[in-house]
Chain length 221, copies 7
Amino acid sequence: ITFMLKNIIKYVFYFIGAIMVLDLFDINTTSILATAGIGGLAIGFGAQSLVKDIITGFFILFEDQFSVGDYISVGNLEGIVEELGVRTTKLRDFSGELHIIPNSKVEIVTNKTRGAMRALVTISVAYEEDIDRVIDVLDRVCNEIRESNKNVVEGPTILGISNLGESGIDLTIVAKTNPMEQWSVERQLRKNIKEAFDRENIEIPYSRLVLYNEESLRGDK
Amino acid sequence: ITFMLKNIIKYVFYFIGAIMVLDLFDINTTSILATAGIGGLAIGFGAQSLVKDIITGFFILFEDQFSVGDYISVGNLEGIVEELGVRTTKLRDFSGELHIIPNSKVEIVTNKTRGAMRALVTISVAYEEDIDRVIDVLDRVCNEIRESNKNVVEGPTILGISNLGESGIDLTIVAKTNPMEQWSVERQLRKNIKEAFDRENIEIPYSRLVLYNEESLRGDK
Amino acid sequence: ITFMLKNIIKYVFYFIGAIMVLDLFDINTTSILATAGIGGLAIGFGAQSLVKDIITGFFILFEDQFSVGDYISVGNLEGIVEELGVRTTKLRDFSGELHIIPNSKVEIVTNKTRGAMRALVTISVAYEEDIDRVIDVLDRVCNEIRESNKNVVEGPTILGISNLGESGIDLTIVAKTNPMEQWSVERQLRKNIKEAFDRENIEIPYSRLVLYNEESLRGDK
Amino acid sequence: ITFMLKNIIKYVFYFIGAIMVLDLFDINTTSILATAGIGGLAIGFGAQSLVKDIITGFFILFEDQFSVGDYISVGNLEGIVEELGVRTTKLRDFSGELHIIPNSKVEIVTNKTRGAMRALVTISVAYEEDIDRVIDVLDRVCNEIRESNKNVVEGPTILGISNLGESGIDLTIVAKTNPMEQWSVERQLRKNIKEAFDRENIEIPYSRLVLYNEESLRGDK
Amino acid sequence: ITFMLKNIIKYVFYFIGAIMVLDLFDINTTSILATAGIGGLAIGFGAQSLVKDIITGFFILFEDQFSVGDYISVGNLEGIVEELGVRTTKLRDFSGELHIIPNSKVEIVTNKTRGAMRALVTISVAYEEDIDRVIDVLDRVCNEIRESNKNVVEGPTILGISNLGESGIDLTIVAKTNPMEQWSVERQLRKNIKEAFDRENIEIPYSRLVLYNEESLRGDK
Amino acid sequence: ITFMLKNIIKYVFYFIGAIMVLDLFDINTTSILATAGIGGLAIGFGAQSLVKDIITGFFILFEDQFSVGDYISVGNLEGIVEELGVRTTKLRDFSGELHIIPNSKVEIVTNKTRGAMRALVTISVAYEEDIDRVIDVLDRVCNEIRESNKNVVEGPTILGISNLGESGIDLTIVAKTNPMEQWSVERQLRKNIKEAFDRENIEIPYSRLVLYNEESLRGDK
Amino acid sequence: ITFMLKNIIKYVFYFIGAIMVLDLFDINTTSILATAGIGGLAIGFGAQSLVKDIITGFFILFEDQFSVGDYISVGNLEGIVEELGVRTTKLRDFSGELHIIPNSKVEIVTNKTRGAMRALVTISVAYEEDIDRVIDVLDRVCNEIRESNKNVVEGPTILGISNLGESGIDLTIVAKTNPMEQWSVERQLRKNIKEAFDRENIEIPYSRLVLYNEESLRGDK
């Protein structure tokens, strides 16, 4: 890019020089300047987004917003940064797709590899279950994972009842993990909870429905 | 940033000085100025958002809209303010993600750590329940929490029936809590209510459905 | 703000004075002016939204669109006006959150504390109920509330059948109340209606479903 | 507003006069004008929306798009026009809320008090009903209302079958009414139809479901 | 509007004349022009949408995009054109509402009274029905309508199976009709099809559901 | 349009001539030019979209993006191109509606009459069916259609299982057809598959539901 | 395009030449230049998007963002690149449709033919199944496909439990495949899993529902 900038500056100086020479010979250069002005305006508008690409790219580097290998999300695209160029940023999605984003479109960045990430699992149990017993079982699963899984930074802990839903009570468990490992920790949590529930005969609820019979209702009155 | 500003001003004065010197030697500087004008316009457009970033950043600081450690929401992003820079604001989401937002995108700010926050829990009970008894039970739970939980600033109080829904009557309970503690108070409220309902045999309703039998309907006519 | 304005005007006059002095000594000031022009343009664009904030803030005050203590909604944010500043308006949401909105974003304002507000309750009853009897019961509830509740300005009155829905007939009741009291009136209406319905054996309907049996259908043919 | 305009014009002439006086004394006024130009540009941008408000307000009055007391909708806000000012229009919503809309936001206006309005009621009947008999019953209801209700301008007429839906046949009835009376006519239509259907034993359908039994299906093969 | 234009032009010429007279007396008019320029710019921005209204209005007339009495849709508004003015177009909706649209908002127009319109009816039948027999019955209905209904331009024809849905097979019937008559033709088609199906014992399907019993499933293994 | 352009150019030259004549008589024309400049700016903004219409229209023709008779989609409008004018494009929708679109709104064009189109049919079968047998049956249907239908360019082929859904296995069949014939091929495919399934006793599934009985669940523990 | 550029430059030089000649004969050319300026501005605005098309097209080629034959997605359009022109890019959709996109609309590009793509299959099993056995069966299917399918780059592996849903446990399997082959690999995975599940008597769950009987609930209390 430095090469390109040099080129641009060179031609700009040639142009200024030419105008000054013509001027010395008393040739009115206003008309040339006016023409150049209109042309320059057209190109200026066109180049505007290029200038913006380069300026934003500079800020990304300078402020270290993200670097190659980070997992980031920009707008509604996500991926691992594969290349951080002067004009574009290239993200490799988990699906294998390569997103090519002009830097000027990189406004709000979410970097998912700076610091520990959160693994969050929500478990539903039926209203009939004894909550204290369920929490007990979940606690044991949490302890187990805290010790066995090296990617866990801060123990899985049970937050409590996050919702009294239509089909059961929602319990939320969170953990802090090394970046990019939050999904595998979540999957392990789900698997171990399912197995513990199977052992303890705690059921994860399907949708439930209470049936009324119209005739019996009518009979009540 | 002051360093950067000084730099900019220094070069601007150099430029003005150079033009004035050339002028004294009777060299026509109009062409140089015109060229600089077009270049300046291009950069000006590009730098426009930078200027806006800095101005908005200044206002955030000056008006104390939020400071490091506050939990704020901007647009559809949320997080604890980790850094409040000249050009960008960094938010750490509960999920561990780091949102990097240019200040010019920080237009409407919602600060969630100024003053007491509200904990709100909505409980559904079936239409068959005796409401006064339900309110009685909830009242006792509210009193209990008011005394035991130090994060509660005001109430919890039962607002009343907020909805006559498809599957039951919705009762709303609100409390004022210390900032960032509203969720834990909500979770405790839910747990205590569930336990009181279990003791008192009040049921939280699953979806209900009244069945009609087509043949019996036809028989009616 | 007057202080700020004075400051700005002062520096503008200093600048004009300096230019005029230089001009008297026959120094060509065009180059300085051109430079100031480009800088001024950049700042002008940046300051544009500030100017808009102040102008809109002035109009809000001048036209008395809302004042501190009013409950207003702007865009999709709601809250009680806590501060009405030169540049920003601060709203305190019921949830305790503090919304800080630049005045230039305050375009369409909805003020909910100017004049009587409407309380609106929609009650569903099954198609099997006798509507005239239901309306009778609701009428008695309305009279009761009209006399006992001082926040009710007008009515409550039964508008009639607002919908013939999937699970029953929707009846709408409206009342005019003192501002900010509409929700408590609605809650009282719901509670009293539920109690009257319990006394009169009128049922609020759950979802209903008519079952056909495939074999009996086939048998029909 | 005329007062304000006079004021503006007065100051503009003062300014021109001052410049001309300075000019007579051979003082170069270019620098003052340039400064005024930049300031004027900033204010001009800010004032732009004010100018637009006034121009649009003028057109609303001049073209009589709506007047105080009309029920109009602008964007997604509705209400009765309470004040039609130079800069803003105030709408009083049925909910009692006061919408304050800058005239420049009043682009597409829908006026609901110019000419007769349409009342539209859609009635569902089960597929098992005899349609001709249903239409007969509805016809009698329409005649009844045409004679008794003075707000009806053009008789309720049955358009026909507007949909063959999942839970029954939808029949549509329309009438022309005096403005603002369409909702009360719709409510009366619904009530009278329900009563006529009760008398004639026509059922408004709940959701229907045909049940297949998996074993009997398997037995078929 | 011609009157207004004349007025504008008259004042413009007065202004030019005044400037030229002042110029003859050697009064520097640059300052007046500069002031007028700023004012003109402000008004120019404000008047911009007016100019656009008039230009678009001219094109609508000149290209005969629609005329008074046509049924058109613009954006998400529909209605019969009641007035086609220099600045606004007025549409009368079927609901009786009057939409007043500035011509500059009339960008993409859909005219529904140019040429024959399509009536489209989709009929669902259960998977158990014999399709060829159903098509036979529908064919007879189509023939019947082709002969009796004068608004039908091109016969109703059965396109075929447009969807194999969750609750049955969707058959699509289309016809070309005189403009504005497509809805009445659709309603007649629906009525005649329903009657033919009643005669022929073809059922329009309610939602269907195949029930499995969990115990019998377990027994299978 | 050439006529219009000539006209514009003619008047522009008249204007330039007049200015030059006035100039020869030493009349200062700056004021006239300034006035013309403001007026021209206003008209220029207004005419901007006209210029854009013409330029885009030129590119559509020049690049042969579509021609009269093609079936295209622009934005969310579809239709057969009926007229491709200098300023607008007219599309005739299948519904008979005439869409009039200014060329400047024709940005991304989708042309559906260039090359063979794809017919795509998705068939659901219950999980209980033997997939290989189903594929066999579908294969025979595909062969049949490949031979009998002249609009098929590239044989219908079974892609495989595109989804394991809630109510069954989705099988996808695709074919290449002559443009505008894809829908009739799809309809024929659906009809033939339905008939083959009827012959072979393969069922297209309704929604399925496995029922658990709460008491039997409780009994299990 | 080079031809066009040459043409433009040629005419620009003619214009400059003409102005300079007129200037030599002492004819004031300011008026001509001003007129040309206004005209040039209008055309400049119109041509702006053309300039942007060409610049973006240049960057696509220069940075090799995609080339003819790649499968890319731009905005919400997808297709194989058929032509990469100076002004437009043409995509051939799988449906056979030809999307013609001006290059200036090609901002964020997703290229799906650079590197291995991911095949992802999510399988639901009922909560009653033994997960370890299910994972065992899936493992064998994965091995089978790894060996037999040459398009698989990196073996299908079972990620684990990605969700504890309403109707069962979701297990996710991923593989890396050659570009454009991900869908066929997914289809083969689905088919082989279905067959293995049939052999092993593992059921893919339909929706499940636990039924409560209202009377038995009431009896409990």
